[in-house]
Amino acid sequence: MKDKQTIWVRDLARRRLRGLRVVVENKKILIGLCMTLGFYIVAQIGSRISPYDPKRMGDAPLNLPPSQEHPLGTDPLGRDILTQLLHGSINSIHIGFMAGGVAFLVAMLLAVTAGYYGGIIDSVVSIITEVFITIPSLAILILIAAIFGRISVPLMSLILATFGWAFPCKILRAQTLSLKERGFVRLAKLSGASGIEIVVKAIIPNMLPFLGAWFAFATSGAMMAEAGLELIGLGPQTIVSLGLMLNWAINYTAFTRGIVNWWLPPCVVLVWMFLGLFVVSIGLDEVGNPRLKVK
């Protein structure tokens, strides 16, 4: 009994090590991580260096085009756009990670439990998942955010997470189902490991690439939803975020006035982050499913 258990634990350890090496070797994951984390660090440093306040009005002349003192110009209330951008990026990334993290954890727990134990739990979870997938989350988010008015950042993240877990959950559940039938899980079962032990030691470690990919997906989805809500004019609105900057740009009629520096920088940052997270998730997907790899 004891011997059999050490065999499958050692087997798993070997698998895990191999996985780690592949992650380092996969260029997409490295590039994506550099894009996202690198930008985050730059924003953190930049927001500390910047001499301006992202929210205080009238510090500088209004509507300045880009110049040496204000590299991205100023907005109609005399605030430095670059400072707003740096602070806004940090806030947007934080909300994204909070909401994405919660959504991802819920998705993983539900998916693994439903997939592994099956039966009535599985039916209930998959029906709820389908309901949350088909419902257009932005419509519900708009409703909740509009009625609560100025919601706090944690509440916002929680609302975003409520509608972000379903799709990852569906995919991860299918993954669990296929892992459940694999030899090493059977071996673990035969050697007397308990259900929780198998899930924690055998199923979750073997899903790690997919889990990472779906964490990146959930984060980028949450950031996108956050930006969308703020763009419409909903959300916390007490902190600067990328979506709020876009909302200001629309409200100050940047388009009909032909002003670029109000809306293009936040857009570029958003795309940069989405792209970074997407590249990470593609890379992780390739690690988990080598057939996808593009030469």
Binding site: I127, E130, V131, I133, T134, I135, P136, S137, L138, A139, I140, I142, L143, I144, A146, I147, F148, F167, M224, A225, A227, G228, L231, I232, G233, L234, L246, I250, F255, T256, G258, V260, W263, L264, C267, L270, V271, F274, L275, F278, V279, I282, R291, L292, V294, K295
Partner: protein, 334 residues
């Protein structure tokens, strides 16, 4: 074709989804502490309007059934909904919400249906062809270029492409008109009117199409790559069938089937994307209606629009899911 289980399950999900949306729509406004009529009165009082005191509150609480217990209120709400009664707009009082939405809805439906069909069909074909070139390791430069373009374009938010279009093509080059769905002053049904509609819709539609094309393209490509490894393709080739025939009848059919499920799943995202696009272009659809309602705190409109969007998306998803087994005979049997 369908098994009873598949049908029952699908309809159950549909009903549950709608029910959840309706419950959220009913409960969330009532979570806010205090009497909404008092809140409205205080708001009006600040603006200098005095409508009356406690008596007024009583009268209107009765009118809106706010003095009834919760479950009775819910039943009243449900029966109103079934009759299409979504309440009255605050900023255009006393126009019913339904009437306002009905003016905006055709614009959105027209724009979206055309854009989504083009993007879906185009992405599917391009992506499948891209995947198809990967068999026998043939990989031309064009496909890898298109692949990278798709990766980038699928991650661009709808509104960003829209903003760039608005800036470059309506402000800098003035090729297209900005704002609205049709030029004001034209008579309905004339040729000029139709041309004007197309001119106004081109850019919003194009930004939706370009963003979606990338997503569908990547999806179709990876599905096709997965199909390439299947034995039935090998067999078809061994039988000496023509390449084009294998592509159309074997590979394509197995690529189309799973991607239709993804269409169902992304309907919600498409709807929210079109809200953003309409806001950027100030296109007179449901999205702009919502944007203005949020600015004016017109809650009945916000609630009505979100309900309509949820209803439309879930119903469309149900319809596609019911057509789906016809495409793939295996589905209903599972």
């Amino acid at each position: 074709m369908y098994t009873v289980k598949y049908l029952v399950r699908r309809v159950l999900v549909y009903i549950l989804t709608l029910f959840m949306a309706i419950v959220i729509n009913f409960v969330v406004p009532r979570l806010i502490p205090g009497n909404p009529i008092e809140a409205k009165l205080i708001q009006l009082y600040r603006l200098g309007v005095n409508m009356g005191g406690a008596e007024f509150v009583m009268k209107y609480s009765k009118l809106f059934a706010l003095d009834q217990p919760m479950h009775v209120q819910f039943l009243i709400y449900l029966s109103n909904l079934v009759q299409g009664n979504l309440g009255f707009s605050i900023s255009y009082f006393p126009t019913p919400v339904w009437q306002i939405i009905m003016i905006a809805l055709p614009w959105t439906l027209g724009l979206l249906s055309v854009a989504v069909v083009i993007a879906f069909a185009g992405g599917l074909i391009l992506g499948a062809l891209m995947g198809w070139t990967k068999r026998e390791g043939k990989q031309s430069r064009i496909t890898s270029l298109v692949f990278s373009v798709f990766v980038v374009s699928s991650q661009i938010p709808y509104y960003m492409l829209g903003m760039i279009f608005v800036y470059l093509l309506t402000y800098v080059m003035a090729l297209f008109p900005y704002g609205g769905g049709v030029q004001i002053g034209l008579t309905w049904g004339t040729l000029d009117y139709i041309i004007s509609i197309i001119q106004h819709a081109t850019l919003p539609a194009l930004s939706i199409v370009l963003v979606q094309l990338g997503g569908w393209g990547l999806e179709a490509r990876s599905l096709m790559v997965n199909v390439l490894g299947e034995d039935y393709l090998f067999l078809a080739k061994a039988k000496g069938l023509r390449e084009r025939f294998i592509f159309r009848e074997y590979a394509m059919r197995n690529t189309v089937v799973p991607i239709v499920t993804d269409l169902v799943i992304s309907l919600g995202t498409i709807a929210s994307g079109s809200i953003m696009t309409e806001i950027i272009f100030s296109y007179p659809g449901v999205g702009s209606l919502l944007f203005n309602a949020v600015k004016q705190l017109d809650y009945p409109i916000i609630q009505g629009v979100s309900l309509i969007i949820i209803f439309a998306v879930t119903t469309a998803a149900l319809l596609i899911d019911l057509i789906y087994p016809l495409l793939d005979p295996r589905i209903g049997e599972k």
